[in-house]
Subunit: 135 residues, 4 copies
C-alpha cells in the first residue's frame, strides 16, 4: 500500500480561474513526500536544509486531469522507485475523495543526491535509501 | 474554546532564510478560517467565489514572534468578533506544539461584506453572522 | 526570435534550501506566457477568467538544470507550437544572465481549449490561434 | 522621492475570488524592498540568507483598499524609517497605474536586526543603516 496523505484544498492554492493553480499540484505532491519521509522517521527540517548533501529535483512531469476547488478533499499517494544508487523517482497521484474517487492529477518527480559544494553525485543517505527500497 | 486547526509546516511555506516566509503566516491563518467555516457547515467553495456578495479582508495586522521550520507541528486557533452588521474581525494565534506550547504568531484580520458590483456594504449572510456571533 | 521576459528572483520564490522552489519554475514560466500574450494585445484579465471558454494546462514537463538564488537575474523565452486546432504547447527556457548565459530550467506545458460547462474541446480563440501560429 | 518598483499582477498572485490574494500584497511589498536594497548596492542573495546576523520582520500591518486583477500594472513605493539602532520600519504603497493612479494597498513592516544564534539585538549593518537613514 503506498503512503497516503489527506489534504483539503485551500483558498491560497487557487487562482482566478477558480481552481488550483497548475504549479500547486506539484507543491501538494511535495507535501505528501515530506509527510511520507516524516512517517518513515526522517528529520524533515534537517533533510531539506543544505548540510553538504542535497537532493534536488532534476525533472518533473505532471498530468492535470481534473480541476480542484477550494474546500475539496483529496488524498495523495506517493510511491518511490530507485533509479540508481544516487537517484530515485516519486510517483504521486492526487485523487478527489468519493465515492467514486477520481484522479485529479499524476505527478512524477526525479530526485538526485549530490554534494552542494562540488555538485558531484553521492549515494543516497541510508534512511532515505531504505525508504525508497521499501517502495 | 476557540476553533483549533492542526498544521504541519511544509517546505513550500519556507524561504531562503530557512523558515516560514512572513506573508505565509497570513496564508496559514486563512486556512484555519476556511476550516472553521467548513466545520460550521458553510460551503467553502461557494463562500470564497464571487456570487454578488463578497467578504474581502480590509485590514490585517501580524506579530511574528518565533520562526517556524519545515516539519514543525503547529496549531492555529481562530476567534471571530463582530464589529458591525457588515464587518467582523478574526484573531488567530499560531502556536508551536509543545510541551511547552509556544506562540509563534498572532494575526488579526478584518472582513467586510460588500456587493461585488456596487461595493456597497451588505449584512453578513445568516450562517456567517451566526458563526461570528457564536465567537 | 522568441518572446523574452526579464525577471529577477524574489525571496518569496525561494525555499529553505536557499534557492527557487521547484514548482516556482513553472509559475515563472507562466508569468512569461502572460507577458507574451499581453505583448500580443490579448486582454490577460479576461483571458484567464472563466467566460465559458477556458484553456487549462493538461500536462507539464520540467527539467531543473541549475539552482536560482534570490536577486539573480534571469530571462525566460517562450515559444508556442500548435498541436491541433484545440491544443498547443509552450516551450519555455529560464536562463541566468551572463556572460556566459546559462540555462537553469526548461519547461514544456500543453494547453487545451475547452468549454468550462461541458468540458468539450473548442477551437482556440482567433487572437490566440494567431499568436500560436506566429510561433 | 521614494524608491518606486513597477510590477504587473500575475495569475499566480490571484485566488478564486479573481483578484490578488490578501497575503500576496505583503509578498509584493517585499519584492519592492528587495529591489530597493539592490538599487542601493546591497547583495540581496547574501542579505536574506542566514550568516549569523538576520533581519526578520517582527510586525506587519496592511490596508487592502482596492482589488488587483491579473494583468494590471501597479507601482510600489517604499520608504524606510529608523525606529532605533536595531530596528526600522518600511511603508509601502501599492498603486494601480492611471491616470488617475489609485492606491490599492498600504503595507507597513517592522524589521529587527538580531543574531540568529542568540536572538540578541544587533546594530544594523552599515550599508543598510545608511539606506534607512537616506529614507
Amino acid at each position: 500500500m503506498p503512503f497516503s496523505y489527506p489534504r483539503t484544498i485551500h483558498f491560497a492554492d487557487t487562482d482566478a480561474a477558480g481552481v488550483v493553480f497548475f504549479a500547486n499540484y506539484l507543491s501538494i505532491a511535495h507535501e505528501a513526500y515530506e509527510e511520507a519521509l516524516a512517517a518513515a522517521g526522517i528529520d524533515i527540517a534537517r533533510f531539506f536544509a543544505d548540510h553538504g548533501l542535497i537532493i534536488p529535483i532534476s525533472r518533473s512531469t505532471a498530468d492535470y486531469l481534473r480541476p480542484l476547488a477550494c474546500g475539496e478533499k483529496i488524498r495523495v499517494t506517493v510511491t518511490p522507485t530507485a533509479l540508481s544508487e544516487n537517484t530515485f523517482a516519486l510517483d504521486s497521484t492526487l485523487s478527489k475523495l468519493g465515492p467514486p474517487e477520481k484522479v485529479a492529477g499524476r505527478i512524477r518527480t526525479e530526485h538526485v543526491c549530490i554534494s552542494s559544494q562540488t555538485r558531484d553525485r553521492l549515494a543516497l543517505p541510508p534512511a532515505l535509501a531504505e525508504w525508497v527500497k521499501a517502495g
